[in-house]
Chain length 111, copies 2
Amino acid sequence: MSDLAKQSLDTSSAAATKLLKEQIENLLPQLPDWVVKNVDSVERIEKVYTFKDFNAALSFTNQVGALAEQEDHHPALLTEWGQVTVTWWSHKLGGLHRNDLIMAARTDQLD
Amino acid sequence: MSDLAKQSLDTSSAAATKLLKEQIENLLPQLPDWVVKNVDSVERIEKVYTFKDFNAALSFTNQVGALAEQEDHHPALLTEWGQVTVTWWSHKLGGLHRNDLIMAARTDQLD
């Protein structure tokens, strides 16, 4: 288990600040195969998980969905035959919060 | 129920031809809010369904997934908080087959 995955989400408004580029780079080594993508000037963290068929992919989507509901923090989940693309970001901040990287680490634990 | 939704999929190899632009335009009036999108020169048909929260969206994703498994024809399903974007196309053909429009009509019946 990575250190990140063990951490609790910080949902206080005082914690509502985007990560700086340097902070992201320091945490990324704990998140293998996750990549930071800038979509419409919003940084997100994304990973593609592969599976043997559609049902296995959909099953993973549901697992990530349950994790998201548990923390009331929701990703975008693109389910296709044999793969799921998981994308985390903080909608309100318009970018990446430390919570997103914690959720990414927890997503890896489901795989 | 639209006429399209009542039709069976044609899975014979002889039927493996892409729809012509005119054929798509003739069928689209039966598919409200579905739009044809060209992604990397591959035509797809796409619709965004909205829901009250994440769980309702994920529930719809599972319904479409069950329909897809039943016909062994699979879409891309982008699940987000309050919405699901459903995209149908025929991977092998690299474009739209009549089957994709039938599946789009059947997706509407689930909503």
